[in-house]
Structures are given as structure tokens and as C-alpha cells.
Amino acid sequence: MSHEPPPANRNPGPEAGHRSGVTGRGPRIGVFVCHCGKNIAATVNVEQVVEAISHYPGVVYAARHEYMCSDPGQDLIKKAIGEHRLTGVVVAACSPSMHETTFRRAAEEAGLNPYLLEIANIREGCSWVHEGPETTDKAIRIARAMVEKVKGNHPLSPIEVGHAAKCLVIGGGISGIQAALDIADAGFEVLLVERTPSIGGRMAQLSETFPTLDCSQCILTPKMVEASRHPRIRLLTYSEVAEVTGYLGNYHVVIRKKPTYVDPDKCNLCGDCATACPIRVPSEFDRGLSERAAIYVPFPQAVPSSYTLDEASCLGLNPLRCSECAKVCTAGAIDYDMPEERIEEDVGAIVVATGYDLYEKERMAEYGYGTVPDVIDGLEFERILSAGGPTKGEVRRPSDGKVPKEVVFIQCSGSRDPELHKSYCSKICCMYTAKHALLYRHNVHDGKAYVFYIDIRAGGKDYEEFVVRAMEDERILYLRGKVAKVFRDGDKVVVWGVDTLTGKRVEVAADLVVLAQAMVPSAGTGELARKLRIACGGEGFLKEAHPKLRPLEALTAGIFLAGAAHGPKDIPEAVAQGSGAAAKAIAILSAPVLTHSPEVAEVNEDLCSGCAICVPQCPYGAITPGDVAHVNELLCEGCGTCVAACPSGAMTMRNHTDLQVERMIRAALAEAVEVAGG
């Protein structure tokens, strides 16, 4: 009985006789079977594997070793490559995720192109999970299949590419600022793009920070100023990323800078314009708890320090209708004809730090948000606690300005609720709620604070102690249980909850209710992710390349994630990730040359009809349609989805062709494995 699998052509079909893609030179494959001590040899009869595979067509040498990854084991391979003039090597050993690099390096040292070596996994996928004689049979099948693959492999070299020495940082919150500063300090140019008129992000809105109770703005503003003055940071506020093309090391970005209609060089910040402006709209910065004019500075320490005329609220940028601001501006800074700017740059890497929003409170119907004015979210409470906030730091409730004597804090509002809202834990709420309650007690000494919680998650340096302090020192009553309903009764906000520890239902007639709303990715994250061709997880947060080993990288090479856009994070984590992403970016920016795996998709131009079915399959936009499709091999990550989609077989994958796989299938299934008894 023959080992030879059926003829080479894929589905020879009715056009028999037509053969293509068969190489003339005979393969000389070496197979090296590892005992891995007892790990493989205990269940797989290694001698039999060697014996069986040595008779397999194309195999000219087969050997075994106690530990193939050891130096003597590697030497065995190197020696055989030379002595037997091997054109391909299969190492039957552990999972390729373990030692593929080791063995390929050894092959290269022996003069064999590393891409001509493949690992047949007979440990994780065989010896460790099976017992009995079939284990050896399967190991032989695995090895045969890999021999078939190697027969079809071609020598390849990594693709080299130059790059731009500049980095784009998207998002001017603390994480983005940190990343920008680190990269700029390392000597590279940075474009820091922020959507709103000022950098600072969420941290600028906060009062004090847990667990140290540092003043948030006091520690943030020096960083903001440093970023704005840094010679290598170009700050682009009121700007959005419009287009991103290119690939690792060579991204071409287009940024749209919206007109502020105020010349920052002329504006002297006198504020007369805002006073003169007839328009009042809710202040975004104060979360609607105060009003601003159509021409405004979001907050006093804003960076850059200049007024912005909000086109949407302005009476129309039409001097005939209203030009109050221009009339009072002695500096002549107001320019109704300011155009939108379009900035195009080439960057080598991108850091995405677009931050978070709070989950829409309006969705929490049971908590009365929107109908009960004294139900607010955590960021609103931050503003109320802030010295620069709408109440100048005095705790007063929105409805009537009364100092609330009983405040209920509701944790996990929208979080950990897979049924109706968000399934994940928003991570920082336990801490900021404790902080809120504690600061409230500091403000209102005779006030009582209640916290409804499910669990307290205070995993962080000095965090548990902080929560204990709130409970023990400030006598904040923690009630384990979710609140079912919040409604208004006179000037009280009645909260219906439960204390699951005693099993008692609880009713509190509060003055103010603060919801620790779930964190969600900031608006537009999904759209930006599409532009960047990176992925979002199910909840819309940016997805990392590997949850453990590559937490800072997006799936697209050269794009890094920082801050809460990637998932709920507190300030130290956001800063750490910003620095981490910066380090990753710096590694690219400072590399003399970048390399890319050559195992990518390739178009056979003699076969491609230009049908373009491949084009939308590519998550990286690597394929350009045309008379024949073109693959940008630097963008291609090698998933092969386009190859499978290509109906005419014109798209192939280097060293993973259909022909190879179909031979592997046949080799894996063919009978005549000569294992007698096992």
C-alpha cells in the first residue's frame, strides 16, 4: 500500500491532465522527533514514529532525541541539515508556541531558511491528552501532515520597511498627555489631538482623587501646561482624526481642526465676549449644572487658554443677526470666517487614548434620572464637590440649592447588569463612591451617607484602607444590595433598597442620590476604531492584541491603547498605560528598520479577475481593488480570510496554500500507518 497521497492538483476535476504548481526538484525533508523526557515518550512510541516517518515520501532523514530543544538536540538538527542537504525540517515536539523560534533560529544557523522548518505538535495535542496505542498512530499522522506542509513551503525573508519618526496621540486626557510627554521627552515629535477645546479630559473635571485626596486639577494642570509648551508636541485641540491610511511605521493621518472663530494669538482672555453673548447653553464641563455662553472657555485652567465660539449654539456666525462678541472684542480676535483646517501628517505609530463617558443615566429609569432633579451621576457630583464647580465646592443639591443631609450613593448603576445594561464592572466606582461619601461627610458634618453596593472592589494600593476609612471613620453606611427604585416624595428622594445581609428591605428618604454610572467608551470610539481598523470588544472598548501578554497593543501593528478607552481604569492605571503605550511607540519610532512577517497573502496576477470579493474581507484594508487585486504586504497580518473568500484561487497565502492544506488533510487521514499494536 502506498503512502503517496492522491495527486497534487486541487480537485483535479474534469480537466484532468492539467497540472500546475508542482515543483520539479524532489524534497529532502528531515524529521526530528523529541522525547521531551517522558512528556512525549511516555505515551508516544517515539521509535515507531521515527521508523514510520522515515519511510514517508520526501523524508530522507529521521531522528529522535531526549530533549530536542537542548543544545545537543539542536546540534543534531543543524548537523543533519548539512549532512543530508535537507530542504525542509519538521520537528515533532511541543506546541509551536513554545519552541518554534528556537528551532527556526537553529535552522537558520545551519543555513536553512527558517521558514522551511515547521513544528509538529505531538505533545500538547497528542502525548499529553491521549493514552494507548492510538497515541502513536496520531503522532505519526501529525508528523506526516507537517511533512506535507513543509514540502510546499518556500524560503522567505522578513519584509523590511522604513518609518516616520513621529507619533500621533489621540485624546488629550491624562493618559494621552502622559503618552505624549513620554514620547516627546524621548526625542520624537508628537501630534496630540483632542476633540474638545481643551486638553485635560475627565481628570480636569474631578474634585479630589482617591485614595490620597489630592486636588485633581492641582496635579493635572502642570502636566497640561507642560504638554502645551513642549517643543516637540503639537497640540491640536478642537480637532478630530478624519482619515487614517497606511501601516505600521507609515501611517498617513488626516486631522480636521474645527474653527474656534477666535484667534488665540489675539485673544487676551478678558471674557467680555462671553458676557456680551446673548446665548446660554448648559456647560459640558459642569455636566449641565451651570451654563456657558456660545463663546466660552470650558474651564479657567483650560489649555490652550483661549476662547472658542461654539458654532452649534451661536446664533449663526452671521454678523447681521448677532455680532455681540465681535463688537466688544477690543483685541479683534473674533473671526467669523475662520476656516476649518486640514492637517496631514505621516506618523510611525499611534496611541489611542480617547477615554470614557458615563453610561447614559437616562437609561436608568428605575433610578428616576431625568425626572428627579436630585438624582445625579458621579461626574456631576465631582463638579458639585469641586471648588471651581457650580456651587464653589459647597455640597448643594441641584433642585433647590439645599445642603443635602442624607445622601444615597448607588454603586454598579448600569454595571454588572448583563441583563439590562452593561455586564462588566466599571472598576473605579467603589473607590470614587467611597471618596464621594467621604468628601460629602467632610463638607456636611452632620450629613449621613449611605452606599448601596454589591461587592466592594478596592484592589489598588491603599485603596482598601481608604474604603475602610470611609466606613469606619465616617460611619458611612454600606448597604449590601441593589436599589430597586428611586422616586420623588415632596422634597425628598425616596430610595427603595435592600440590605441582603439582614434580609431587610430598606427605605431611605434622601435629599440627594448619586449614581455611580457605568463607564462606557467615549462617543465616537467605534467610529475611530473603524478608521484605525482596530477592533472593539462587545462593549465597545478598544480591544487589545492579547489580554495578558500584549495589553497595550491593538491588533493592528503600530497602534497602541492607553487609558479608559481600553476599559475602565483609574488615574494611576491610565497614566501607567499611557507611559507603557509611549514606550511601545518609542520602540517603533527609534527602530532603525521595521520588519514584518512574510507569511502573508499574495495575488496570482495571472488568475485574478479583479472581482474584488477579497477587498472587504480584510480587516486591515490591505487589499486595493483594480484590474487585479493588490495586497499591501505590510498591512497584511496573514489571517487568510481573503484567501478563503477568493472564489478563483487567485489569492494565496505564502507557505499556507490550499494545496499544502489539502495535502495535509490527506496525509492526516490516509491509512497505512504501520504501527503494529502500539
Binding site: 499529553w128 489571517c639 499556507h656 489539502e662 490527506r666
Partner: protein, 154 residues
């Protein structure tokens, strides 16, 4: 004398990042499962072609397993969605051609689900044993109009 138990032949296409890593974890955790499946590693379940599945059947496989990342977890963003749709359409065609669609199984297995991988291998082998050996799609004249002949193991 007891009849030898039917041992189905299976080809398993496992994506490198999730299902393949999950299979490795099953190995690291020493979870025993039947040895019927030979794995072929692909970068992404989106690389798996319906033709491979048919090639496997043509080459004597009784079942084909495709393992990809969970929805939302694809290393390449969306390859697993393509795989899912291809398998859905392929199964409809297989049933028209007289191959039980249950012989093709697409499963989401994450890198941490070694136990799930092992369980799926057990399950699939059991299911295929119940189905019995596959008859060649060309041997028994497939009929779109006639009820598929029962191939339950007797």
C-alpha cells in the same frame, strides 16, 4: 463477540490564537480526550475553506471540526464571523448532498478553555459514533427530493 467500536476520523482546523491555544491548554492541563482528531493549525478560522471540509470528507474523514475565537475576540477582528457564515451555508449544501450537517462542527474556544476543547472532542467523537461511518457523497445517490436515508448506527 463484541463488535469493535467505530472510531471516526476527524480533521480539526484550529485557529492559532484561540482554539489552538485552547487545545494546547488542554494538553498542558493533561485533560484526556479521544485521539480521533488530527489538528491542522490555521492563523484564523476565517482561513478555513469549505473546500477543505469537502476534501477531508473525500479523503475519508467522518467529521470536520473548526475551532475559532469567540465572537468579538477574533485576533483578526472578524475572521470568525466569516467562518460562521461559510459553515452555515456549507451545512445547508451538505444536507442537500446527503452528508449529515452535524458532521461539520464550528465551535468557539478561547485560549483559556482547555476543558471546553477536551469536552468538545469527547462530544464530537460520541456524536460521530452515533452517526456511524460516512458514506461517500457520490456512492449513495444523493437526493434533494427524497428524504435522506437514515444512517444512524444500527
Amino acid at each position: 463477540m463484541a463488535e469493535a467500536q467505530f472510531e471516526p476520523r476527524i480533521v480539526a482546523f484550529l485557529c492559532r490564537w484561540c482554539a489552538g491555544a485552547g487545545a494546547d491548554l488542554a494538553g498542558t492541563s493533561r485533560l484526556r480526550y479521544p485521539p480521533n482528531a488530527v489538528a491542522i493549525r490555521v492563523n484564523c478560522s476565517g482561513r478555513v475553506e469549505p473546500q477543505w471540509v469537502m476534501e477531508a470528507f473525500r479523503s475519508g474523514a467522518d467529521g470536520v471540526f473548526i475551532g475559532g475565537c469567540h465572537p468579538g475576540d477574533c485576533h483578526y477582528v472578524s475572521g470568525n464571523y466569516k467562518a460562521r457564515r461559510r459553515v452555515h451555508l456549507l451545512k445547508r449544501m451538505l444536507s442537500e448532498l446527503g452528508i449529515e450537517p452535524e458532521r461539520v462542527r464550528l465551535e468557539w474556544v478561547s485560549a483559556t478553555e482547555g476543558a471546553k476543547f477536551a469536552r468538545l472532542m469527547h462530544e464530537f467523537v460520541e456524536e460521530l459514533r452515533a452517526l456511524g461511518p460516512r458514506t461517500d457523497p457520490g456512492e449513495a445517490a444523493p437526493s434533494a427530493a427524497l428524504p435522506a436515508p437514515s444512517r444512524r448506527k444500527g
